[in-house]
Symmetry: C2
Subunit: 461 residues, 2 copies
Amino acid sequence: MTKLPSQENLKEDTPRHKRLAEAIEAKNLSEAQVIVNEASADDQRRIVSQLDLRVREQLCELLPAEETADLLKNLAEAQAIELLEEMPVELAADVVEEMDADISGDLLRELNEEDSEAIFAELDDTDESEDLRERASYKSDSAGGLMADTVISFPSSTTVANVLQDLENHAEEYNDADVQYLYVVNEHRHLIGVLNLRSLVLGKRLESINRLMRVNPLCVDVNTSLEELEDIFDEKQYLGVPVIDEDGCLRGIVSREAVEEALSEARKDDYLKAAGIVGGEELRSMPLKDRCLRRLAWLGPNILLNLLAASVIASYEDTLQAVIALAVFLPMVSDMSGCSGNQAVAVSIRELTLGIIRPRDYFRVLIKEGFLGVTNGIALGIVLGTIAFLWKGSLFLGFVIGGALMLNTILSVLLGGLIPLVLKRFKADPALASGPILTTCTDMCGFFLVLNLASLVLHKI
Amino acid sequence: MTKLPSQENLKEDTPRHKRLAEAIEAKNLSEAQVIVNEASADDQRRIVSQLDLRVREQLCELLPAEETADLLKNLAEAQAIELLEEMPVELAADVVEEMDADISGDLLRELNEEDSEAIFAELDDTDESEDLRERASYKSDSAGGLMADTVISFPSSTTVANVLQDLENHAEEYNDADVQYLYVVNEHRHLIGVLNLRSLVLGKRLESINRLMRVNPLCVDVNTSLEELEDIFDEKQYLGVPVIDEDGCLRGIVSREAVEEALSEARKDDYLKAAGIVGGEELRSMPLKDRCLRRLAWLGPNILLNLLAASVIASYEDTLQAVIALAVFLPMVSDMSGCSGNQAVAVSIRELTLGIIRPRDYFRVLIKEGFLGVTNGIALGIVLGTIAFLWKGSLFLGFVIGGALMLNTILSVLLGGLIPLVLKRFKADPALASGPILTTCTDMCGFFLVLNLASLVLHKI
């Protein structure tokens, strides 16, 4: 009998986190190791999220520090930080020592200061502790935060043959380094050239590497921002760029891969923020209190914005009382134009990301969205106006609703196109604030347009 | 006098696309080349988007095919496709011939069939035309669509020294290949091992490469999906994975970089889709008609969903007439709970992406969102209920509005958590459909709860 692997997986999977919990409870190290090590990174994330926090911590205490380090590396960052905070500080220090500097630097940076200081104090090797402290001091999305710090460098007079010989001789030692590029430095460890492995193996053996190296290589400062790194990797086909400190000394290498990964994290953050998940990602395994408070932090200000819009309706209660059918269409007009505006927001954020528009290109966006707003506004206005007329049998209602939707769509599309540019110009985050600002404006204007148009027409009659 | 480069940039930039347009009009090739080649990739995208389509096409005719190919590579994909469609087919074929196969394959796949067939027919070399046709037949997000097709392979008995010698001898020829990995094949070109450059340069020179190579290397089929590739690169630290065809022959290599890039494109698509930009990205330089129709395609069905919600209000017009102040709070209740639900949608989509939950983990999501919904529902209900009471001085209104918001928040958070799972389970796209479905449900339920609670209480009085 043969089974599809995925079916087997389905069948076995439900109890896996339970089997692990039992093994941990029984302090059965080998069983726990088998379950953890046989699981894929995805499965590890899921299994861990299904364990109680206390049991998770016991798992970390049970496993050898090296395996705990491997496990934390595979977990989502928020999960790893939660665990580091909970485990005893001696254990946390042991685990941190087993990690690569770029990963442990990331985690230590995100810990609260008290916890990270305790871990630094606990580290055996003061040099390492200093290095890690420095790393954690760089911003996570800067070159210093993203770089790997093992680099191989040679004096410029070395020949290709000698470099190849040295690599063969020090094979063991270099095994941990990311040997994509070799660096050429002077006596002060100042960077003077870069040589990639490709050029090395394709080069003539007796040539010295200063003939093959790229001179005056592009290098970045430890504080270089993710946006600047993106631009660099966008324009150049490099796999990595060397990073120097304030004194011009070579400190590490930031790889294209690390930058791509950080960028895709940043884009994911944009999506979460646009939906009101603020201040880092939420996992459902986090404590209820934290999840509630973080979501409320975004919903709270939203109440105030909503009240602004509601006050427009409140000031037209007479009109509403006269034509109660208007109340049926109020939310429709504001919702529909809000959707149109959100499309414009998404296109602006996208064009800003691609670099096709800059924050000061107001005029271009206004023109482009203006034509679209008029076209779509007329189309949607005719459709909804006709529906209102047919449904309620009132030509008056049809004109008021259709007209209000048309005007509000034009306005909303213009605003939606502009808001991300304005926010970006004032260094605010377009993904976070564009939605609520746009919704409030289109609600207010939508309610105002419907009710004001209606009261004007009622007056005339 | 020194100027900051960015300021100089600001000053010069406005007329740059105009200067380019003039150079093109005057058929001044060298001036056009200077402007195009001195611009960064970002600037190229922006400048091109500011030229009329006709002038853009003239630019491509003016530049040598090789430089046009470089320019198209730097543009956003939608821009490059637009240009290829517009230029004469002979020119398009020349440009395509100058591109790397993975880039031209992507573009040809996106062209309509008539245009791409015309280009295939025009290609000088029938072998190349066949290759490109095959490439364009792979899905863009499959291993076949993402792979680079220049690979270097050796028989397994070769020694390290011989490989190094061969690389030195054929340096010219290998210059185009992505020499991160060397492949070891048998006489049928079947893959039997992989050797990375690192292991090669760190290896003993007299050893044969079958001692250093990874045997039974992981390889993927041309049809392997992006999700499967993501899993592979997530679990293994490889820089690239070899791709084989149906006959087991080595066809290319798909790099981690290509997969990361495709994933970040896919995430960007999620964001655009959630905001109602469907069917690929929109650039404001596209024709107005296309932009209007594509945005309307998403707004149209939204009218129907909105009508569903409006019909709930319509069936309670009497209640509304009796207490007109309810109309002020109707949009607030539905908006607020919609926002709460959207937060849950974002967390579910994120946890699905991370692999922390699977589409069938309904129960876990319900429990976790249930507790959160009750807590936040009570908090928000008390706040809005109090506001309603204080504003209108009516205890009745306070209870109705507060109670409705509380219940609707719980419902909305549960729905928001579940909808992405259900959509994923039925192979629909959660980013696209979750928002409209959730909004319609929370609007309907919000209106119903407010108006029904009110009419029940009114009845009692």
